[in-house]
Amino acid sequence: MSDEKYQAISKAVTEGEDIQTGELVKAALDASLPPLEILQKGVVDGITKAGELWKANQYFLPDVILSADAFKVGMEVLDPELKNTQTGPSRGKYIIGVVEGDMHDLGKSLVVALLTSAGFEVVDLGIDVPMDKFVEAVKTHQPTIVGLGAYMTTTMLIMKDIIKELSNQGLRNNVKVMVGGVPTSQEFSDEVGADAWGRDALDAMQKALTLVGG
């Protein structure tokens, strides 16, 4: 019974049905299914399948955008319940944002959702985030990891300046830095002095877990 419910949620997410996803997640919660299972076997499973279809060239950008939106709706319904559920100790604080001059938020939204599902306490600074705001946030929140996203070659080099500024202010040794976004690469991540590169949202989550020793 419960497996059918999870599959239905997963399918709704993959197919990008936002309203249906919200309703199905709510129904699953009303039926007292464990929030963490709804998350993993339902919404995360659905977005993972959408990602696989994208990689197999069976899904195009509009399809992925709708799946990501449905995923987001599912997460919004689920999030308060997840916070009430004891899911073990937090993996630590993760600050994330898209660098200044860059307005792309789809990739970051996916990373935020997956990090949340993995147990990180995520502070999302949003898009078009100036360098000072990243630095201030690191000072204020003292996160374990700070994640920088850039989705254009015109903005990606700013990540190097941010990492430098963290060093200048004596903050670099206390925080791990991850970078990601379509034009970035492992070589680029090494060049700018990041600790890890996320090839895609799922990879970013896995690398974050590795960084915190999980």
């Binding site: 955008i65 001059g101 792309h104 015109t154 070589e187």
Partner: protein, 224 residues
Amino acid sequence: MDNSKTLILACATVIEEILPLMPSDMKYEVLDFGLHVNPNQLRHILQETIDGANSRFDTIILGYGLCSQAIIGIKASCCTLVIPRVDDCIAIFLGSSKSYQNQLKTEPGTYYLTKGWIEVGDSPFAQYEKIAAKQGKERADRIMRLMLKNYTRLALINTGRYGMDHYREYARKTAQQFGLRYEEIMGSTTLIQKMVAGNWDNDFIIIPVGETVQYSHFYPDLHK
């Protein structure tokens, strides 16, 4: 520069702007515009095309920029590669990397259109009707709303090489339909003129035979 030994290899949208300025004895090849959404595939096809052509030419001029790093890793084993030192085609249309940076600073949430982009029809605006027909208006509207969430301006680049009325009308109508502010910005053919005349100054990267294109060719500051 021997024109007959020079090949221009360009994206379908960029060739539109190059053709009117290109010497008649120069050859060219065009690659599909749609490749830009998949940098790995674009890199693969660019390399394949260069491999197939480079023994017949002294120089291949690429009508591409960094293009989401699709250009990184490209090499030609028998000829020189010349690449404009730009992030993408918008800088080519605007005439320089500097003009592009200025535009990006002024209004980052800008969707750019050119004659080529409109004609190729591979923009979200052009896809809207197709998606609406296939998946219904509601889903198509949702896709557009999500895709354009952070966009405020639709800018049509006028490079001054052709009659703009038709494209202006299309861009204006599109902006209105999707709630964006329409603006026409003046482009420039400076970069393309230099490109086809062999006047490869600091706005161009010259890659010797056998050498691989690297990110630092575009952004030497990376190593500073």
